[in-house]
Symmetry: C2
Subunit: 516 residues, 2 copies
């Protein structure tokens, strides 16, 4: 009864006051990014951090990193004073730290809608969709290869969520488009169906340059030269190899003053040591070298210190995701990245489950909490990731986006002031009564608690009788269909749209289809 009174009052207040969180969600009005109000969770001592850094220094000085198929990169290293033998490059301790010191600790990535600009680095947290799956899946049709339609659907779902901040990059592979032309459709789709910041291609240097050229059409060439408007996520070929395809793309982004995200993917026991400390040291060394290379290409270019640690199942030899060791490792990587004063990409919402089930959400949250705790600034793979990144799930995408909403509240921490300490409420209510209708509650309840749009919080009888006894995946299935049905594209300047279409048409015409 009292709860009902509060609810009625809530409805009345909402009409005149600021909207309820549920309404905000429906209108997809969130914040452009989060400014964290809780500290990072620093789990390792100074002494142990230094041991890891010293091991990274030894790896760089004694083992070295190969830079294959990119003579320009090797020349950069020679000029910088590294020891070069063929493609193997070795670095004196301290050299790479010195080089990366010219990269900004924090920068803005511009979106075509300035209200969606994101600030990357410092205390800022940006949630971006998962990236790179060849397959998509939903509860109706199961798993199948992703298409451009799917790709655009996920952009629309991200754009519609108030809890994601970024449109992402290769959300899924549109395999119905030739491999060498996909990037054109992908970049165009991000611009067309979203007004948020996005990522370009990195799978070949000319694709990176196409991506950046399209950004120049959107933002203007001069603006792009002075501002970050596109990210490129480049991978190390661990252990200790930088492939020419990647360094050429890395350099293309840096050259254009755009931010490369430098990411080793280390499956412990395969591409790196099976022990966490060693894998972290390797990851640190590999990323540090990539970050430094961006500065040799263009001093002051923005760069993001990235990381992707994974573990292995003893029983099958398969990679495992969302397990405790990489979660712990992420926290250490975060501590190390902050000592370099570089923006951090770390962890995400990882799972190896094939379905949006309990395993998926447990693994995803363990991984996502580590991203949040480690101080990651750009959290790629925040939504949709299933099957060890082989499949983007429609249901998990909206479940994860909802979780990202909860993490907005988590990262807000606890406000401690006279209002939240509520002494007036204690004096008003006293022992043995309740706070449902008191002044303090009426003043604060609208913003007090995260209220998930997908979780069921009804009494059992209402859930079973009126709600159809659904699980969250079933509710998510309804949710993404409803969101797509209601989606409206953000307005795009017609001249820009035409110029982009012209660019895509012209570039496609210049290439034969390649399917691998």
């Amino acid at each position: 009864m009292v709860a009902t009174a509060v609810m009625e009052n809530a409805t009345r207040r909402t009409r005149s006051g600021r909207p309820l969180r549920g309404e905000r969600a429906a209108k997809a009005v969130g914040v452009p990014y989060i400014v964290r109000n809780i500290p990072t969770y620093d789990i390792l001592s100074e002494e142990n951090l230094q041991k890891i850094e010293r091991t990274a220094d030894r790896i760089l000085a004694e083992v070295g990193i190969e830079f294959r198929d990119d003579p320009v990169a090797v020349e950069h290293w020679k000029r910088a004073g590294a020891k070069v033998e063929g493609v193997l490059v070795r670095f004196e301790p301290g050299m790479l730290r010195e080089i990366v010191s010219t990269a900004p600790a924090e920068f803005t990535q511009h979106a075509r809608n300035p209200e969606h600009n994101v600030r990357i680095g410092g205390k800022n947290v940006v949630f971006s969709p998962a990236y790179g799956s060849p397959f998509v899946m939903d509860l109706d049709k199961g798993r199948r290869y992703g298409t451009l339609d799917d790709f655009q659907n996920f952009i629309k779902l991200a754009q519609s969520s108030p809890w994601l901040h970024h449109s992402g990059g290769t959300i899924c592979e549109p395999v119905d488009v030739p491999v060498n032309k996909r990037h054109l459709d992908m970049v165009y789709s991000h611009v067309k169906y979203s007004d948020r910041a996005f990522m370009g291609s990195i799978t070949a240097e000319d694709r990176a340059e196409d991506s950046i050229d399209m950004a120049r059409i959107l933002f203007g060439a001069d603006f792009v030269d002075q501002n970050c408007v596109i990210l490129g996520n480049v991978n190390v070929n661990s252990p200790l190899v930088w492939d020419g395809t990647m360094t050429k793309s890395l350099r293309a982004y840096a050259r254009a003053n755009q931010a490369a995200v430098i990411v080793p993917f280390i499956l412990g026991g395969a591409m790196g040591p099976v022990t966490n400390a060693g894998a972290i040291a390797q990851s640190f060394a590999e990323t540090l070298a990539g970050c430094a290379l961006t500065q040799l290409e263009r001093k002051g270019a923005p760069v993001i210190f990235g990381n992707f640690l994974s573990s292995m199942s003893l029983r099958s030899g398969s990679p495992t995701f969302g397990t405790p060791e990489p979660a712990i490792g992420s926290m250490v990587v975060g501590q190390l990245a902050r000592r370099l004063h570089l923006p951090l990409r770390c962890a995400g919402n990882f799972s190896n489950s094939k379905l949006p089930d309990g395993q998926a959400m447990q693994e995803g949250l363990m991984s996502m909490m580590s991203a949040v705790h480690c101080g990651a600034n750009f959290i790629l793979h925040s939504a949709g990731f299933l099957d060890g990144l082989l499949a983007m799930s429609y249901e998990k995408f909206v479940m994860d986006a909802d979780l990202c909403g909860a993490l907005h509240s988590y990262l807000a921490g606890v406000t401690v002031d006279d209002n939240t300490l509520a002494m007036d409420a204690f004096l008003q209510v006293g022992p043995g009564s309740h706070f449902l209708g008191c002044d303090h509650t009426m003043r604060n309840y609208q913003t007090a608690f995260w209220d998930s749009a997908l979780s069921d919080n009804e009494p059992f009888e209402k859930w079973s009788d009126e709600g159809g006894s659904t699980d969250i995946a079933t509710r998510a299935n309804r949710q993404w269909k409803k969101t797509l049905a209601e989606y409206e594209a953000p307005p795009l300047d017609i001249a820009v749209d035409e110029a982009l279409c012209d660019y895509v048409t012209r570039r496609k015409a210049a290439m034969a289809d390649a399917w691998y």
Copy 2:
């Protein structure tokens, strides 16, 4: 291929060396409790902690707490120098802190198998099953009232898990036994079907005393007088009321030198302020008063500083569980409890979902991670909790127990030493190769990573073709049935068994059945 070689080698090594983690799981040989190797996550500043403490002091001094229907408790407060008006008791700042200073910061709860003794307080973490549901559920039969059979099944599942450390208390209500006799069957079942530490009844003073008497039969009266062998979980009737039923049970445990767990359940906006800081201050005040009362009953009696924060759905007025605000609140409560040097019970594996689905595991893990991060020493509700604690789920129980296994690895943190830094591996492997067969991997892989017994980590094709495309709840369904089928009761001295049965029979004969 290489992975297969590692696996084959693993099998060989296992025969001669120490067992794989999977085998350990099968044999239910874990550790008796965890000694955490990661720091607590302290999110609030000293200044803000003091503000909360000062608010708690003001609540205690200006509003006070009612101690209803327990004249002995009121007399205790009078003698201790509190301001008493009828049942309302007010406390000068600092008074309760002074009183609780005689409680131990850490103590051992003894199990009938000494190998399962648990150490509560300090850096120790004990996982205990969920507590108090009237219903049970499984995927085959759905939800129904719990019975003594169910109760015993959950004891068997807990006893069989290497990742739980404690047998718990009222795991579910055995509603087929009269209310006034249940405690006898519950305590007997814990002793009979588990050799781990357990909890007794608190629903009436004589039931608390029966529970302790049965512990005396098991351990010997002198031993019980000097050692903790049973816990009683007592609840505050928030806001700011201690009910006589609870304080009488609290005093019964303290009098016997047994540990009461002092727990306010605060649903923000109903039993406490809707803002976190105020709810924390209230919770702190209520728990502090309960802890102090144990010391007035028997100075030096062990006591656990407990806490249960919850939030509310704006849309329905229902309580919500596993949401971000209570998770954050737990971290603050942990900081406050450590300043009192008292063992902490905080958070758990909470969910409002009606099924063991993605919602259940996401909410459960957010809550469980807060328990782990806040430094909780005794984590009640570690396994099985669904539907806002109205139902114990068989499937979620084994899923949660598996998660507790993962948390063993999480709490182990990162070991940083010459072996884990793996410099020998980098020198051996070099750039562009792999670590699958290297000496370092062979030396370390068996203990490197948590390997869940329930999560699917197979390739998609194997999962769908050979695995039947199961979700984790389906695998959990198979697992609990297999575990129950293979369960063997730990040996119990026949004379003790008979003495306990005699006690139960005699006590039951002395009471008429009561069903409410």
